[in-house]
Subunit: 236 residues, 2 copies
Amino acid sequence: MSSGQSQKPSAEAQAHHYDPSKYERPSVTVDVVMMSIRQSDLQVLLVKRRSWPYEGMWAIPGGFVRIDESLEDAAKRELHEETGVQDVYLEQLYTFGDPGRDPRMRVITVVYYALLDSERLQVRAADDASDVGWFSMYNLPELAFDHAKILAYTLQRIRGKLEYTTIAFNLLPEQFTLRELQRVYEIILHRKLDKRNFRKKILSTGILEDTGAKKMEGTHRPARLYRFNPAAVARQ
Amino acid sequence: MSSGQSQKPSAEAQAHHYDPSKYERPSVTVDVVMMSIRQSDLQVLLVKRRSWPYEGMWAIPGGFVRIDESLEDAAKRELHEETGVQDVYLEQLYTFGDPGRDPRMRVITVVYYALLDSERLQVRAADDASDVGWFSMYNLPELAFDHAKILAYTLQRIRGKLEYTTIAFNLLPEQFTLRELQRVYEIILHRKLDKRNFRKKILSTGILEDTGAKKMEGTHRPARLYRFNPAAVARQ
DNA sequence: GCAATAGTGTCTCTAAGACACTATTTA
DNA sequence: TAAATAGTGTCTTAGAGACACTATTGC
């Protein structure tokens, strides 16, 4: 049970009168892996540590879960504080809680990841004053705690989800071309995809809606702009 | 970051001298969804609550995470206490932490699930004295807390994993017939599978090894006994 | 030889992947 | 008309699923 009392017969006596306040409790934090497509690359937002332990190293942003907020609310708050954006795709990744992962005390961290449309981020581009920065998921700096492991696991997860979900759309603005969508897939999967097969597959699912508009850019044929059609996903 | 200190510039002053002991902390428990194939059914081990809240209702077994044990160790301990078995397939499912999910206090629970070979369980069959019982995942009693939601999510997860992993083997003894393996798939997916297609697909993966032995049982042709070959999985 | 379960092969259909040319725009 | 990117179709192959009969055992 997920409760304050154990129900095992073997431990019944203590369990029944268990007072959790008597026991030392771990701290619970929420860390948020915020990713976006920037400079044709999959990048993650990291913060630089200013004190022991791991002073000067980069870390995934996070903080304590407040006593009256849900885990997801804590993650949303963290996300908003760091990037200023709201209404973002957010998903729980995994909970890491090995004793000793933080030398100061026992910390259990529930990790979420967020996929951000870079266009909505540009507002806070000046944020890069000092100790917050975007890094390529393929070329990370030295990371504090077990954060290298967490980012490796995140990448694995979003690659898996890319195949059978619509998470890629969260990295693009509302309207986008098929080529832009293909680039998102290529960047995350880290390999080239065949243009004809990609378009055939995506369009055959029916999850895209032609907006009728075209993206004029440069001295070449303009591309159609599509829009994600959530209704089509539900229909499947 | 997954640590005791926030690194946001905005909160730097407090963050730098943050003392987590000043704040009210949530409790952290580990709940374990223990499942096994029993009576041609997918069953789950539940414990009956003896006190408020949800008195008399059934719940997923669980307990507090000790300050010096990992989450997985806590889950293993819980599993061993309830079933007496060790070396079991165990995987983290999800972390549930909405405020109010336990009316007594803020409890964040990291849920694991375990798939047990029913043959190894028979030793403790007499355990069903009073407040521990096996229930069909398809016909659950009224459950305490948010445990109905947790079990629904568990079923969804193992169905997904069945397709692209080898978790099914954890529900069978070391040697088993193809018919027995097919029954495991049918019970979890909750639909009939075609015998020829099932055998073709499983055997084509090469993850099974013919033991040479046969299972004689009843008045009919005996079936070949196979063994799971983990080496073949790695090779894939 | 009867009852009961084990074990086997073919055909169809769909989806994935390899692969190269035409269309449209601006300068 | 040149440069640059958008957009399109066919063939092959692999895997999924529908489908029915023969093989082996104990009694």
